[in-house]
């Protein structure tokens, strides 16, 4: 092949001989390559057919995976081997040139941009300012439908829950809880009556002893008959603090392993949580129903900017 001679656009391109070594397959034994490729493609065909049959008779996940996988793999190996062993391997080359244009061209382009731009705005600063101001207003008002419409403003809603004074505690099925419901060491997820399943109201009720428990000074009446209630939202990232370890009297968050001591007012003892779990003050009424004395005295869950 005569590669050195350069051809202008008018001159026809040179013709390469078929026995040019660049055009030769890589395989030392093309017959064997053909056989292997043929077998691969045939295996692929069988795989596809077998998948079709499997689907037809009702389907089976593993067989579907194997058969179609074999079909695709057979085709893949066959085609790749065809390309690798039976097609020209070269080495072929392609020239490459630097991208940078000549200095004159660059200068022409750059001055075209600046000078035409200057021409547009020259002595029309007022119109330009108006255009800029209008675009800025458009950008701001576009945020109304694109952003503001998406949801309500947070307001104070992150600070409060649905727990109110005197509300009964109910379990996940909405059944009110009685002082005799939990053995010592037992625990349960509870909600305020009427708010079953609510994400912000979820609370862990546990019975750590049979007698009244004071977890902190100032919380003398919060743990009647050994019942304690803590917000179930981890103060770290908001996962449910779901694991009550009775032996150590701790609550564990399975997401990032924060540990809270239930006898010390939900104090965090390990892990990334920055604050104790908020405690819900409980009372037991004359008929034995467990009630909330009042709601949580601080926002539940993870931290946020407006939280003071």
């Amino acid at each position: 092949m005569s590669v050195e001679q350069t051809t202008s656009s008018n001159e026809p391109a040179p013709v390469a001989a078929f026995d040019d070594p660049h055009l030769q397959p890589y395989a030392k034994n093309p017959r064997r390559a053909e056989l292997v490729i043929g077998l691969c493609l045939f295996a692929g065909l069988l795989g596809f057919a077998a998948y079709g049959a499997t689907y037809w008779v009702g389907g089976q996940t593993q067989l579907e995976g194997v058969f179609f996988g074999v079909g695709l793999f057979g085709f893949g190996f066959g085609l790749s081997a065809w390309g690798k062993y039976l097609l020209p391997q070269g080495p072929f080359s392609e020239e490459r040139h630097t991208f940078a244009s000549s200095e004159a061209e660059v200068e022409a382009m750059s001055s075209a941009v600046t000078q035409r731009g200057t021409m547009m705005f020259r002595r029309r600063g007022f119109l330009g300012g108006l255009l800029g101001a209008g675009a800025a207003v458009m950008g701001v008002v576009l945020a109304f439908p694109l952003l503001r419409s998406l949801g309500p403003q947070p307001g104070k809603s992150l600070d409060t829950t649905d727990w109110k004074s005197g509300m009964r505690l109910v379990d996940v099925n909405g059944r009110p809880l009685h002082a005799s419901d939990l053995e010592v060491g037992g625990s349960l997820t509870v909600f305020p009556e009427g708010f079953v399943g609510s994400a912000v109201d979820q609370t862990m009720l546990l019975r750590a002893a049979s007698a009244d428990i004071v977890t902190r000074p100032g919380r003398e009446t919060w743990g009647p008959q050994g019942y304690l209630a803590y917000s179930k939202l981890c103060t770290h990232a908001g996962c449910p603090v779901g694991l009550y370890q009775e032996l150590t009297q701790q609550l564990l968050c399975p997401c990032h392993q924060s540990l809270f001591d239930v006898l010390q007012g939900g104090q965090q003892v390990f892990g990334p949580a920055p604050r104790p779990l908020p405690q819900l003050p409980l009372e037991i009424d004359s008929q034995g129903w467990i009630r909330a004395q009042r709601g949580f005295s601080e926002p539940v869950g993870p931290g946020f900017w407006e939280r003071s």
Binding site: M1, P12, P14, V15, A16, F18, P21, H22, Q24, P25, K28, N29, G44, G59, T61, L63, E64, G65, F68, L72, F73, L79, A81, W82, G83, L87, P88, G90, P91, F92, S93, E94, H97, F99, L147, L150, G151, P152, Q153, P154, S157, L158, V172, G197, A199, V200, Q202, K232, H236, A237, G238, G271, P272, A273, P302, F304, W305, E306, R307, S308
Partner: protein, 519 residues
Amino acid sequence: MSVTSGVAGNGKKTAKRVDPVDAGVRWLDDRLGLAKGGRVFLDKIFPDHWSFLLGEIALYSFVILIATGVFLSLYYNPSAAEVVYHGAYVPLRGVKMSVAYASSVDLSFAVRSGLVIRQMHHWAADVFIGSIAVHMCRIFFTGAYRKPRELNWIIGVTLLTLAIVNGFLGYSLPDDLVSGTGIRLAFSFMLSIPLVGSYLGFFVFGGNYPGNGDILPRFFIMHVLLLPLIILGLITVHLGLLVRQKHTQFPGHGRTEHNVVGSPMYPTFIAKTTGFLFMVSGALWALGGLAQVNPIWQFGPYEPYKISYAVQPDWYMGWLDGALRIMPSWEFVGFGHTIPFEVFLPTILFPGITFTLFYVWPFIEAKLTGDRAEHNLLDRPRDKPRRTAFGAGALAFYFTLFCASSTDVLANFFQISLNSVLWFFRFSVVIIPIVVALVTYQMCLELSGVAGAGKRKRANVVTRSAEGEYDITKTEQRPGDGPSELAPTPVPTFIELGEEPEPVGAADGSGIRRIARRI
């Protein structure tokens, strides 16, 4: 073969009868003028190196993602409305759940091949992001991002970011217990942003968590429309720039800064790469059928108050989860405000800094080395010890964080206290990267001092002549030892198709230095 006879032969052929391909080319060329550019495209040279397949894996996984994703979208329903399940999966019958979860379970069990395709989609997402990451390592360690390819590096980093976000959105959609926990965490991450966090969370979720059932339809449309469209557009530009700027190549026989050496697009590369597309699909299909992934029916439907042990995100989120776990509880409270740094730092600031660093890396390196020249030949990593050491250290850092996302599982498995595991990771996330970087640096220096490192060794044959003189000769190079010793040539336009010549190596002395060995 003379030029004139070849053209005459070619002309004779077209005159005799109308060749349909020739007619088609002429029809298109009359209307679009594609002949010249089209042939240049067919002649495009692809360098032959295994590491160039990594980006192809990413591309083909994306093709599979689109194909399987369209299938899934025919059956999936993002509604949060509550239903009692009466579908194909018996153990969940009678359980209250969202329509989204029910449709995800049913497309796995009631639709034939549905489970294979759902699992294939999940595997393809994992492989997509994994291959992007490894492809990026290849680009980094060989310096392929240097001038003139900084733009494509930036597009690539954007693609990685979008792929990770879309992966998160995707595995959130089934509304099972694990994915619901992930969405809850995402809300907390948004809340942690100073000043705007609670507004952002409320706007995205349509209210305080869990919102009014808006979040799944929103995630759905972002996952199936918005992000795939952007990803598709960026991939197009990524490949367009690749064609415009041409491939980089490793230095070697006949390869210079001013050429590309390899196989032509048509037919060699097309055959090989189509085969590779089939192989990637075959691997993903087999994984989809054989390797269970994300068995949502075992987790049960999401309820905000339920949680499971060993909750972990998909692998590409592991580094963030690990950072979140080992971060100390440094909440800032003051001036009537709270900045939850224990969440904000690892989940918002840290990835922000990470990706910013990725974006500006080519410019930082150009500044540090003062090298602003165009580079088309790749570096061997050992020849750039400082860059390689920095990259290896960074990889070690992110891998340690990834391991830290399984503190609880490790503590359980090795029966050691969670406290020890946590403190181990807090120290090792600093120490391990430094050690890895230093060791890598030294290894690069050692390697670059060794002649012929990385090449297959060839035996020396020692002969003694009759006079008693010793002579040492190297044995002949074996096939595959190195690049062919032929000089690279442009792809020929016309080929005289005559008799099939003897296969390479069969005839001796044909100027081809590949040795056929019969064993």
